[in-house]
């Protein structure tokens, strides 16, 4: 178990370093002088000189990367030029909002996707399977920002049941918070639910065709118990690992969902930063996303190891 952990960590670290290099290199894409571009609207030569000095822009690229990466390691992701605040502070401020949204969305995705996948695997080839596959295809194909707009149109504009926007912290009012989050969470969870349904279905079909499921049936175990006690726990490992990979999709989707519902999270921070040409913030958000993603995959590996009795005891 410890060896397994160590091996996974050893793979994750170079990945993260390389990802940071790629993110750093994005600057090079900026047209024209980097210092001018980084200052955005600001044209004050003093500010430009300050930026040039702060980011060591006269030094060669590897040296600049070293300075930048050193800062990142110390938690210094640079300064938001527009908001005059450290990027790390902005991220810490916005992260909980996105985390709440992501967790709620994952909950929606699991609550819809897993039972639907189990049902369609058990009823393979029957009407329930066809319907579940159709729903999954809908979930995969509908752009989530459009779904968001449609839901606002129905529940906020027409029916007036839910607020179209206006995030409230759960510490202020949990009910207002949930009222504001229910539509974004559903919209974001919708696409992931489709993917989870497909993963669950495939994993369950594999397990339901296995010899030990036949043994269980040969023992006279009821179909319900075969599905839930014998098959589902063994299908859980691929569902967990593949589910964790969907977290990237979740973060991608959050950018748009937050935009549609004006949720002041990570994604909104990134989009606003893009429009204000606040590139340090963009880089900060992306590197945090990559780090979160890598950490989650690591966690999923560990979790599936914990579920697997063979690895648990080894």
């Amino acid at each position: 178990m410890l060896r397994f952990l160590a091996r996974r960590l050893a793979l994750a670290v170079p990945t993260l370093i390389l990802a940071s290099m790629i993110i750093f290199a994005l600057q090079q894409l900026l047209p024209g002088d980097v210092a001018t571009a980084l200052t955005g609207e600001e044209r004050d030569p003093q500010v430009i000189a300050f930026i040039r000095q702060k980011y060591h822009l006269d030094a060669p690229l590897p040296v600049r990367y070293a300075y930048w990466a050193g800062g990142v390691l110390r938690g210094d992701l640079g300064e938001s030029i527009r908001l005059q605040k450290p990027v790390s502070e902005l991220i810490v401020e916005k992260l909980p909002v996105t985390l709440e949204l992501a967790c709620l969305a994952m909950l929606v995705a699991l609550a819809i996707g897993v039972p639907m996948g189990v049902l369609s695997a058990v009823k393979r080839g029957q009407a329930a399977d066809t319907i579940a596959n159709g729903v999954a295809l809908w979930g995969l194909s509908v752009p989530n920002f459009w779904l968001g707009i449609l839901l606002i149109l129905l529940f906020s504009v027409q029916l007036g049941w839910l607020p179209a926007s206006g995030y409230v912290s759960p510490f202020e009012s949990l009910s207002d918070n949930l009222a504001a989050m229910v539509m974004p969470a559903f919209v974001l969870g919708n696409a992931i639910a489709a993917v989870m349904m497909r993963h669950t279905r495939a994993a369950m079909l594999g397990v339901l065709g296995s010899d030990y499921v036949r043994t269980a049936r040969a023992k006279g175990v009821s179909p319900m118990r075969v599905t839930l006690r014998h098959a589902l726990p063994n299908a859980a490992i691929p569902i967990i690992t593949l589910g964790a990979l969907e977290f990237g999709q979740l973060l991608s989707g959050a950018v748009l969902t937050e935009q549609v519902f004006s949720v002041p999270g990570f994604g909104k921070l990134m989009v606003d930063a893009v429009f204000n040409r606040d590139f340090a913030t963009v880089q900060g958000v992306v590197i945090c996303t990559a780090a979160t993603y890598i950490a989650l995959n690591l966690a999923a590996d560990l979790l599936s190891a914990a579920v697997n009795p063979k690895l648990r005891r080894a």
Partner: protein, 304 residues
């Protein structure tokens, strides 16, 4: 599932074990077409894709109005005989903009995936076939790229490149490249381990010849399926970038950009939101349907 005997057993008898009659012989092109046509949803997908491409190509002839021409009489105009899909916030004809918008969406889908394949395929071939440190470097790079979620990377790239449809295509294509590197590499490694490739190598064929003659044709199906499904993802990505203002710039029409403005007029002109969204949905659905059908038809064993 087409097993007659659920139990595999070792060849205990002198006669060949297994049930050859039950195994589906690998498809020739004709057999592939037969299997594809048997899947109604795949055919439907292909037909919709065809119609959408036709619409995009013939847009100047079939669109009733100039997609950028404003008409003050038609500002947020209700759907009518003259403007079946209504008018937008400056009175442009929504139907004409939907028709022309297909160009941005389909174009972005096709161009970005073409870019991703033309970068990813050679790199994946190289990594899978050369092995060693070359494989190590390419694989780590792929891991790193995959660690940044697709759309986030595309947004970041588009942000640094500057907002335009071409830059959006480049951003989406680059973001999708890692998927193709990884897929190609995995496929190459699987095929290279097969006996006929071993045999070709033993007979002294040069590596590039083995790659071209023996490996490439065997990995094309998987790449084709992935490409089709990635077009669907790329169309959503282009719509997303345009929705955020990072893709097609106004007044040129794009479904995603249309939704962006529609959002602000939801209570007065809901049709502005309905049609572009429906168009994106239909295009993405069509490519997904076709891609799923293609996968099933190409590999009958891996049927979902």
């Amino acid at each position: 599932m087409s097993t007659g005997t659920p139990i595999a057993e070792p060849a205990g008898l002198a006669a060949p074990a297994g049930t050859p009659a039950l195994i589906q012989e690998p498809g020739t092109l004709a057999a592939f077409w037969r299997r594809l046509r048997a899947r109604k949803s795949a055919v439907a997908g292909l037909v919709i894709v065809g119609l959408l491409i036709l619409m995009a190509v013939s847009a100047p002839w079939i669109a009733p109005y100039d997609p950028t021409a404003t008409d003050w009489a038609n500002v947020r105009g209700h759907p009518s005989l003259a403007h079946p899909f209504g008018g937008d916030e400056v009175g442009r004809d929504v139907l004409s903009r939907i028709i022309f918008g297909a160009r941005a969406s389909l174009g972005a889908g096709l161009v970005s995936v073409a870019l991703a394949v033309s970068l990813g395929l050679p790199l994946g071939l190289l990594a899978g076939y050369a092995g060693g440190w070359i494989d190590g470097v390419i694989s780590r790079l792929t891991d790193a790229l995959l660690a940044i979620p697709f759309l986030i990377l595309a947004i970041a790239l588009a942000a640094f490149l500057g907002p335009s449809l071409v830059n959006a295509m480049i951003a989406i294509g680059l973001s999708a490249t890692s998927t193709f590197i990884r897929l190609t590499r995995a496929q190459v490694r699987a095929v290279a381990a097969e006996e006929f490739v071993e045999a070709a190598r033993a007979m002294g064929n040069p590596p590039w010849r083995i790659a071209r003659v023996h490996i490439l044709p065997n990995i094309v199906p998987a790449i084709l399926v992935q490409a089709t499904l990635t077009i669907a993802a790329a169309i959503i990505a282009e719509a997303s970038l345009s929705f955020l203002g990072l893709g097609q710039q106004p007044p040129e029409p794009s479904w995603g950009a249309m939704l962006n403005t529609a959002k602000n007029f939801m209570d007065q002109a809901p049709w502005m939101a309905i049609w572009p969204g429906l168009s994106i949905f239909l295009a993405v659905l069509a490519f997904n349907l076709f891609g799923d059908g293609l996968r099933d038809a190409l590999d009958p064993r891996q049927r979902t």
